[in-house]
């Protein structure tokens, strides 16, 4: 009898409790990047709270969000992964390219999917190699192409001889677009001028003096945290034309432009989702989450760029979980079933509208071969007097003729060094 009790206890201890759908949130609410980490984490958690409060979870199964503080530190991010994966984690969103890179082999070995939405290793788009890594709806190389496409549009399709500077965070994240921009420069004939900024980017005088001296026609920015605010302020100080200054989607939140005041007027940034809170879903968020006192934060971030992105990430995770439930016939899905759900995810405008988010994001479809979606992106612009962003383009395609081979090349190299046989 004693042996039987011990065996049952051991089995119970070894098995994860499967009463909830577990979505870990690797957040950073402290440290130098907290101002960006907080709204994203709030949006991510609030959406799941809404599903629990309004719908009773996903497919009738409550959602449990486990928050773990990383401080935007890759080692802590991995510690969080190790500490939470045993809870039955369905998908990880590290919100850090460095953490994503370290998580790729671990999550693949553990059979847990990772969604690095608009960040991480770009070639993870190739699902035949990166079986558990997803980066839909767009990746950095799409972003680089969107920026160049926009510059092409405003120059009548000819940018040969132009000089384009890339001010980038001197890290794995910041260096991601360089190869694509180099390839695109060969195609379009512009001169690329990379300008590195060391972490955290509090002091950028040298970089902006260089830009003032070299006078590039356009400046692209791959920044994060304080680097963005300082760069926009320095650009305003040297009177750089803000119309010609374009940031990646991680350099395009209210946090980035507000400190520079009127000087930031006209600054542009890329995006893969819409802006503001004028969507039916936000009425539900207000009613079931914020007004009910269940918001992850103070409720003051609702509708900001990074809150929307966190909410969008949670919504895509929830939709993938629903797809997984439909495919498997189980409400209480496993990480492997979640992975299959992500791989079969299709976001249509009809589905977005039904969720209360009409025109919020581009339509896209994920497949075994394509874990990166359609790679559509738009350009938005900051109006300092109104204190708001507005989309100035529709969602447009990136240059897959250039990006496709780069994805193939990089993912093939990863497959070779990791001993992976690509398969779908």
């Amino acid at each position: 009898m004693k042996l039987l009790s011990m065996t049952v206890a051991a089995v119970m201890a070894a098995s994860p409790v499967m009463a909830d759908l577990v979505f870990p949130s690797l957040s950073y609410r402290t440290g130098p990047y907290a101002a960006n980490g907080i709204p994203f984490a709030d949006g991510y958690e609030d959406y799941f709270t809404l599903l629990n409060e309004r719908d009773g979870g996903i497919g009738g199964v409550p959602v449990r969000v486990i928050e773990c503080e990383t401080g935007y530190n890759a080692e802590k991010g991995i510690e969080c992964y190790e500490a939470t994966k045993g809870e039955g984690a369905l998908v990880y969103q590290p919100l850090s390219t460095a953490t994503t890179y370290q998580m790729i082999p671990k999550a693949t070995a553990d059979g847990i999917p990772v969604h690095s939405m608009g960040y991480g290793r770009t070639s993870a788009k190739n699902g035949a190699v990166f079986s558990n890594i997803f980066n839909y709806p767009a990746n950095y190389w799409d972003g680089a192409s969107h920026a160049i496409n926009h510059i092409l549009d405003v120059n009548g399709g000819d940018i040969s001889g132009k000089k384009i500077a890339l001010v980038y965070h001197n890290s794995a994240y910041g260096k991601e677009p360089i190869r694509t921009l180099e390839e695109l420069s060969k195609k379009h004939g512009y001169e690329l001028m990379p300008v590195a900024v060391d972490h955290p980017g509090q002091e950028q005088k040298s970089q902006w003096l260089q830009i003032r001296q070299q006078r590039p026609d356009y400046v692209l920015m791959w920044g994060w945290g304080v680097m963005n605010q300082v760069a926009i302020q320095e650009a305003a100080n040297i009177r750089y034309n803000m119309e010609n200054f374009i940031g990646i989607w991680w350099s395009g939140s209210e946090n980035d432009v507000l400190p520079a005041g009127a000087g930031a007027d006209g600054y542009k940034a890329l995006t893969f989702h819409n802006i503001g809170r004028d969507y039916p879903l936000y009425d539900d968020l207000q009613k079931y989450v914020v007004d009910a006192g269940k918001a992850a934060g103070a409720g003051d971030q609702v509708g900001t760029v990074l809150y929307n992105r966190g909410m969008y990430a949670a919504m895509l995770a929830a939709e993938a979980a629903k797809t997984a439930q439909e495919l498997s016939g189980n409400a209480d899905i496993t990480p492997a079933e979640m992975r299959a759900g992500m791989e079969a995810l299709e976001m249509t405008e009809a589905k977005m509208a039904a969720l209360g988010l009409p025109n919020f994001g581009p339509e896209f479809k994920v497949s075994c071969e394509n874990h990166g979606g359609n790679g559509l992106g738009a350009v938005k612009q900051w109006d300092a007097s109104a204190g708001e962003w507005s989309l100035i383009t529709g969602y447009e395609a990136s240059d897959q003729d250039v990006i496709g081979p780069l994805v193939e090349e990089d993912s093939a190299a990863f497959a070779a060094e990791s001993g992976i046989t690509p398969s779908c």
């Binding site: 990047y33 907080i38 955290p200 040298s206 003096l209 304080v226 300082v230 507000l258 000087g263």
Partner: protein, 328 residues
């Protein structure tokens, strides 16, 4: 004049200005180390805390609002008033003096005569506590700081240099303000230490604690005084750096910019902090300008330490530090 030479001159001038900003941070370290032998790891966080408090007071933000609302079920965030910059600076100084008293009363008073490494550890703990308290007190969002300091290119320098060389130099008005403030601050600190009773007492404590005690100087008072002055220096640094990037938690990392300045200028010399700041500022900017493009850029963070290490090898006490004499 060749373009490259003009650019180098512009870079040098901007390096000097950046050096002043580094020196402003380093000054706080020097003051506390000189008076108490404590390497205050929390100096960067003090700058952050001071700037957060200043913006919070100016904007009429209710401190600990989230905590109050969570405990009492209220929904208060602002008092609804706006405090003028000068009054807000004064009120922030009151807070920094209170902080100095609390640090002395609750931490260092209990650690008198302990090993320097323990005192250093205590300041690490203090840094994290202050960062956490600052977060709970004022929130982690990025705040715009506007105390009326001009920002952007200085027109006069731009036009004058353009007329002289055919190329207008960029000098940020904020950097010019920082330089003027730093000059006034250093002059005031020197005047204070030379011509006031408290200043002389402070120097006496810095020279020899035991001797100072024996002539009736209160160590307790002096340490509160020096932490208060360091708090004021932190506030000035916080204003200058916060005006550049907004007040946010990465402001605490400006301490990293002060370390090579201290290694170079010495931990006990106010002129050393200034000269060290200028050398580091000019050195790192010129290196980035001349060598940076050949090695992929982003050299400033590490080159400042290379420069400081070189000085350490040949002059361990720094340029102006007290000579290390060990008697056997």
């Amino acid at each position: 004049m060749p373009d490259q030479l003009l650019f180098a001159m512009e870079v040098t001038l901007n390096g000097l200005m950046a050096g002043v900003l580094y020196a402003l941070v380093a000054l706080g370290f020097v003051l506390i180390f000189k008076a108490s032998g404590i390497f205050n790891y929390a100096q960067g966080v003090m700058a952050l805390f001071a700037a957060l408090t200043l913006v919070g007071i100016m904007d009429g933000q209710v401190p600990f609002a989230h905590l109050i609302n969570a405990v009492f079920g209220t929904d208060i965030h602002h008092f609804g008033w706006h405090v003028p910059a000068l009054l807000a600076i004064f009120l922030t100084m009151v807070v920094m003096v209170a902080l100095a008293w609390a640090v002395q009363r609750f931490i260092f008073r209990h650690l008198v005569n302990q090993e320097p490494i323990l005192l250093f550890m205590a300041t690490i703990g203090l840094a994290f506590v202050m960062e956490g308290v600052g977060d709970i007190m004022w929130g982690a969002d990025i705040k715009k700081l506007d105390v009326g300091l001009p920002q952007g290119i200085n027109e006069w320098i731009d036009i004058t240099t353009f007329e002289a060389f055919g190329y207008g130099f960029f000098i940020d008005n904020l950097d010019i303000s920082a330089t003027i403030v730093a000059i006034i601050l250093v002059a005031a600190l020197i005047a204070f230490s030379q011509y006031t009773k408290q200043g002389r007492a402070l120097r006496a404590v810095a020279d020899d604690h035991q001797a100072a005690l024996s002539v009736g100087i209160s160590l307790n008072f002096i340490w509160i005084l020096v932490w208060s002055i360091a708090g004021f220096v932190a506030l000035v640094a916080g204003i200058m750096w916060g005006a550049k990037s907004g007040v946010q938690f990465s402001l605490s990392l400006i301490a990293l910019k002060a370390l090579p300045v201290l290694m170079l200028g010495g931990f006990t010399s106010i002129p050393g902090a200034i000269i060290g700041g200028l050398i580091i500022g000019v050195g790192e900017k010129l290196f980035e300008f001349l060598i940076g493009p050949m090695v992929g850029g982003a050299t400033e963070n590490w080159f400042a330490y290379v420069l400081a290490l070189l000085f350490l090898v040949f002059r361990p006490q720094g340029l102006f530090g007290e000579k290390i004499i060990e008697r056997v």
